[in-house]
Each structure stands twice: as structure tokens, then as C-alpha cells.
């Protein structure tokens, strides 16, 4: 495709933009538009049935870059990309990129997740950690596994309670699930969904954040978070669209720590409350990850409770 000055970027989201995952894209694109770099359009909460049509409509309307989360609709999204070879597609996907114009990315933030796991493992007094998720999909599973690995590094005897509420959108339910975990003795919670940190806050246990930083809302509760920043990914893609050099490749690496696509959130209110020797181990791992000497495994299988 020819170079463009100010590309039109269209996003198709299968969930509302408040959802943590897509909010990462939405924020970056809104900012890029504010800077005048792009023109941004989006459609949110698009059902499975409509997803393909909306993609086509954007492509048809001349969007230069189409992005969004296409997980459940891989085949359809690729079909659309094939039909519009002049348009760049950068879709959240667990699959492979596809020439010439279908690029993929995903929330590869297992590295900071591992680090938050270490903190959780070190902070849990009784070695019981709880995790509440929406559905066991790869995007969730890999972070949970990395988190568990990290926790086990610090405390090999730690046990995990795992629970899925079967919805992306039910904070009251997630909160209730977290309460149930706290009732059974869990003292650190992995907050994959909204609602979990609220339960932790009310009961005075600790929580670990995921994807976004919520410490501002829960200053006494959220110790650490694995943050995802889509800016490196999207900026790279936008730059290529502008230059007319966009091709179907895997943007997954841009979510890694070394590209600043993900990071361990600053301790903030917990500065000084996490034991120094624990933090030293964490920093050491962080450095090892950054210099490539430590690799966090990606494990997409469904995590299971190890608590009894």
C-alpha cells in the first residue's frame, strides 16, 4: 500500500472499551488521534455475528489500518483481510500472522505476571493464593501460569485456588467468588476481573493487578500489577502504515518487557512495605528477563486449583 500522511485507524472490539484488554488499545489510539497522528474510529461490543461485517465496512470505507480482538473469529477476520489486500490488519489473535497484510499481536505480558507472582508468593503468609478469572482462554491462562510459576519460585509450597465465573462482565459475581476464596483462607488474590480487588479491599487482603494499574482505586490492596502497554505495538504498526511498509507479521514481541510493551507496575503505596530481600529477588529476575537470560514460559492450558 502507498504511504499515507494521517492514516485512518478503525478498531472493532467485541467487548465494551471499559474491558481491560481492549481498553489498552483504545487508550493508545485515542491518544494518537489527540496527537493528530491518526484518525480513529471504533465500534465496541460487536457481536460475533456482526464482527466480520463491521470489519468489512471499515475496510470498504477506506480505513488504512483495522485492528481489534478477533480471537473467536480468526477465520472470518482472515477472510476479510484476504478480500482487502490494500488494507492493513492488526488483530489480537492467538494464531500466526498471514501474508501479505494480516498481522497479529496478543497480550504477551507473562513476564511481569511472573514477577507479580513472585511478590504474591513472598507476601502470602499462609501460602494460599486465589485466582478469579472470566473464562480459561489462552490470554488468561498464560498469565495465570506465569504468575503461579513466579509464586512457586519464592514459595514452592504455595497452593492456588482457581475459579472461573463464566462471564467477562459480572463484577458482583467475581467479587462474590473472591469473598468465597477469602473465606477459605486465601490471603492474596490475583485480580483478573473487576470485582476481585473490591473483595480484597473490603476484607483487608492483598491483590495483584493484571493488564491495567488499579492501585489508585485500591491503594491499600493492590500491591503490584503486570501492566500491558499497547503503545509499542500500535506505534510500530502505525509507523509502517504511514511508510507504506506494513506486512503481515507477528507483533507479539512488542508486548514484551524489553520493548516496554509490558512492565511491573511501580510499587507505589506499597513502596517499602514489601520486604527488601523479596524485592531484590524480583529486580534480579527482572534484569534477567530484560537481558534475555531468563525466559518465562508461555503455557496456554487451563490452570487448575491445587488447593484442598
Amino acid at each position: 500500500a502507498p504511504p499515507v500522511e494521517r492514516p485512518v485507524v478503525a478498531a472493532v472490539y467485541s467487548v465494551p472499551v471499559e474491558q481491560q484488554w481492549v481498553s489498552r488499545l483504545h487508550i493508545v489510539l485515542t491518544a494518537a488521534e489527540a496527537r493528530g497522528e491518526i484518525e480513529y474510529r471504533f465500534s465496541e461490543n460487536i457481536s460475533n455475528t456482526d464482527f466480520e461485517r463491521v470489519m468489512r465496512q471499515y475496510a470498504e470505507a477506506g480505513a488504512h489500518l483495522v485492528t481489534g480482538d478477533s480471537f473467536a473469529l480468526e477465520a472470518a477476520a482472515r477472510r476479510v483481510a484476504r478480500d482487502y489486500p490494500q488494507t492493513a490488519f492488526l488483530m489480537g489473535s492467538s494464531g500466526k500472522a498471514q501474508a501479505p497484510n494480516f498481522a497479529v499481536f496478543d497480550n504477551y505480558i507473562q513476564e511481569p505476571s511472573y514477577l507479580t507472582g513472585m511478590i504474591a508468593g513472598g507476601l502470602s503468609k499462609n501460602g494460599k493464593i486465589g485466582m478469579v478469572g472470566g473464562y480459561p482462554i489462552p490470554e488468561v491462562n498464560r498469565l495465570m501460569h506465569a504468575f503461579m510459576e513466579g509464586a512457586r519460585e519464592i514459595n514452592p509450597k504455595v497452593t492456588f485456588s482457581v475459579l472461573f465465573i463464566g462471564s467477562w462482565f459480572d463484577p458482583p459475581k467475581a467479587k462474590e467468588a473472591a469473598f468465597a476464596m477469602i473465606d477459605s483462607g486465601v490471603d492474596v488474590l490475583y485480580a483478573e476481573r473487576f470485582g476481585v480487588s473490591d473483595a480484597a479491599k473490603e476484607r483487608g487482603v492483598l491483590a495483584i493487578g493484571n493488564v491495567i494499574d488499579t492501585q489508585a482505586q485500591y491503594p491499600q490492596t493492590v500491591v503490584a500489577s503486570a501492566l500491558w502497554d499497547m503503545a509499542p505495538t500500535l506505534n510500530a504498526a502505525i509507523a509502517r502504515v504511514k511508510a507504506g511498509t506494513f506486512v503481515g507479521e507477528d507483533y507479539g514481541q512488542y508486548s514484551l518487557m524489553k520493548h516496554q510493551g509490558s512492565s511491573l507496575a511501580p510499587l507505589g503505596t506499597f513502596e517499602g512495605k514489601v520486604p527488601a530481600e523479596l524485592m531484590a529477588k524480583v529486580r534480579e529476575r527482572e534484569a534477567a528477563i530484560l537481558d534475555g537470560s531468563f525466559i518465562v514460559k508461555v503455557n496456554d492450558s487451563e490452570p487448575k486449583s491445587s488447593a484442598r
Binding site: 467487548v15 465494551p16 472499551v17 471499559e18 481498553s23 483504545h26 487508550i27 485515542t30 461490543n45 486465589g130 480459561p136 485456588s161 482457581v162 475459579l163 472461573f164 465465573i165 463464566g166 462471564s167 467477562w168 462482565f169 459480572d170 463484577p171 458482583p172 459475581k173 467479587k175 462474590e176 467468588a177 469473598f179 468465597a180 476464596m181 473465606d183 477459605s184 473487576f194 470485582g195 473490591d198 491495567i212 488499579t214 482505586q217 487448575k304 486449583s305 491445587s306 488447593a307 484442598r308
Partner: protein, 316 residues
Amino acid sequence: MEWLDLLGQNAFWVSLLRLATPLILGTLGVLLCERAGVLNLGIEGIMVAGAFVGWLSVYAGAPLPVGVLAAALAGAAFGALHGFLTVPLALSQHVSGLGVTMLATSLSYFSYRVLLPGQTTPPTITPFAEMRWLEGLPLIGPVLAGQTILTLMALLAVPLLVLFFKYSPLGLAIRLVGESPAAAEGQGLSVVKLRIGAIMAGSALMGVAGSFLTLAAFNAFFFNMVSGRGWICVALVVFASWRPGKALLGALIFAFFDALQLRLQQGAVQLPGLSGLPYQLYLMLPYLLSILALMLMSRRAAYPQALMKPYRKGER
């Protein structure tokens, strides 16, 4: 933990009651409509509207009780629409109800987006506090103390509704329009007024049920957060054979299994043969057991005879 220990655990009952509250309120709402002879499938959307309007009012600065009132009014407004379509116009109660669900849901979402365009994390409010002052009550004190005032309201609404249907002239009149609108008309009662009134009152309860989610169980409004709770209420009314007491029981049973599955799934409670299953089976539990309970209860119950039958004055 052993299964029996769970029943002795206050926290379990606190959780159960919290899960049950929106179901109790919603079920009573549907019950009121259906006792007057009108099915109200608008509940799922009316709960969304209640959750949204209640939350929005508080977010805009209103005190919490005013938020609940606003939710009730929003519910009543959609109830009035449903009532107008199904009673004087006698249109299909199914379509009108599903239409109201769509309308209430989409209007709420649309308004949310228009009013709060730039949000990426949902803004929060300070929800109702727990009623710690009830701690001292014998037996139920610790369980009630973990609830908010809305749960207390829901619980009190049950006996009130029982008494209402049993003893008050208005309750009797509402039952009559649900059984035989022709008879009601013959007794000089206005079928239209009674039915619309009952639907509006019932829908107001549904609105409050929705507001429980944003003003008590959680502190922010989310898209899709009602998550099918409304449909469950529709089912619970049948389960309850249209009786408020049994509606409470039904909601509690459903919530019981829901609270139980949350504990089984994470392995906090062990039941023989019920550990380590796919998580979906745990989520299925409340639905399956509700149907089972329905099968076991002898329920060729007398349902309101005029339910879902449109009535147009002066026609056969």
C-alpha cells in the same frame, strides 16, 4: 473443608443472601406482574436500566436512597410502556417484553456512552454499607449484618406481599384480574388500571433489583452486568407457583447452589464426586438443581388463569 462445616459458616450464608437479593427482588417483581395476568420478559432490560439509573443518580451526587428510588422510577417507566402495550392494546406479551428488554438495555448503554464518552475504567461510587448495627441480633444477626439495607428490604417485601395478596382488597383485585379479567370487569374493577398498576409496581421492584448490583453488590456500572439474572427470575416465579414465600425459597435455593459452586469450583469445599470437574459443571449446578427441584415439587400449581391471555373489553 467439609460440606457440613460450610453450613455452619456465617460467611457462606452472608454470601448466599447477597447472591439471592437481586433474585428475590426481581422474582417478586415478575410475580406481581404475572399475578395480574401479564408476563413481563422486560425484566432483564429493566434490571439493566435500574442498575444504570440508580448508579448514575448517585454518581451525579444524589444520596443512595434517592438512587434506589430513581431505579424504581426507571423500572416503573418501562413497566408503564410494557403495560400500555400489553393491556389496553393487548399486544403480544412476549414481544413487548423482549422489546422492552432490548429498549431498556440499549437506551442505558447508549446514555452511558453519550454521558460518559471518555471512560476506560468505569467510575465508581460509594455503595451502601453493611448493616453492622444488626450484629447483635440472635441467630440471624451476623448474617444480616453482612448485608445492605436493600437485602433487608427484599426480605421484608416477601411477607408484605404475602399479606397484601391475602388480606388487602387491592391484592385480591389484582389476583382477580390475573384469574379472570371478565370477572373483574363485572365487579366494576378497571382491568387496565389494575394491570398497569401491578406491572409498574412489579417493574419498579425489578429496577431496584438492578440497582442492587450497582449500589450494593458493586460500585460501578458495567455493560452486560445483569448477566441473565432477569431470566432466572422469570423461571423462579414458575418454580414458586406464583407465591411470594416460595419465591423467596426459590431464590435462596438458587443462590445456595450458586454460593456452593463458587466454593466447590475452587476446591474450598469437597463433596464426594464433585471435585475437580470441568468448571462449567459447577456453573451449571444452580440451573440443573432448580429444574430438579421443580420436578420434585408437586407443581401442577394453579397458575393465574388469565396469564398471557390478552383481554380486550367487549370482545369474545
